[in-house]
């Protein structure tokens, strides 16, 4: 079965304001403000506008950030966050 891929909402549709441990993301198209915690803003940042699978996103995160040794165990974490973001319209499931 082909792996699902995801694409982040276009950056021009979002206004992102980092606070301390949280970020605010105002989604222009829905008028909704999302209060998000790591790793969500970092995931959206590394995704850019590219269509990516879960493992590709994790790979990009590990290149930019220190994730610790057990990156394999983080695959379900990234997958769960993507499902959450897809339900909110911040990423598109392709």
């Amino acid at each position: 079965m082909a792996q699902p891929r995801f694409r982040a909402e276009d950056a021009s549709h979002l206004v992102i304001k980092p606070l301390d441990d949280l970020s605010l993301i105002y989604h222009r198209r829905s008028g909704t403000t999302h209060v998000v915690a790591s790793p969500v803003p970092e995931m959206l940042g590394v995704m850019g506008g590219d269509p990516l699978g879960v493992e590709e996103i994790l790979e990009r995160l590990s290149q930019r950030f220190e994730l610790g040794n057990e990156t394999e165990s983080l695959i379900p974490v990234v997958a769960a966050r993507l499902e959450e973001l897809a339900a909110l319209g911040l990423v598109e499931r392709l």
């Binding site: 829905s30 790591s38 790793p39 379900p76 769960a80 966050r81 959450e84 909110l88």
Partner: protein
Amino acid sequence: MNDREDHSQPDEAQAAESLAVPSRRQMLMMGAVATSAVVSIRPALAQSAASVMNCEIPVPDMGRAGQYIAADGRLVPPDTPGAFPAGRVFKGEDVKAAIKGRSLPGTSYEQSQAYMNYIRRLQAGNSGFTCYASLQMPR
């Protein structure tokens, strides 16, 4: 104070030293699978149930009359193949039913899909955006 005779105890001095050495990259807290990382605040729209059902969504926005609606909801010139003529106004209750799967009144299946895709793309400032956003409020 515990008197530990654990010879396999990790060398605490070494561990402390590795923490003191700055890593090249920032540590990213990934959280747990089951821990949601988003709280969403919807626009505050105070409308009664009756007024939401009667609010209207023009397809297309009044400022864009004369354009056609493509299957994916984008506005296109009238001679675009496969695009549908526009100029309809839909009530909130009809769009709410369409969200649940019914076709918009007076439209074919494909036409309804195109109009719904247009409606889903509405942004703040377009006519009908507030009406559409209100339909998604939990009741």
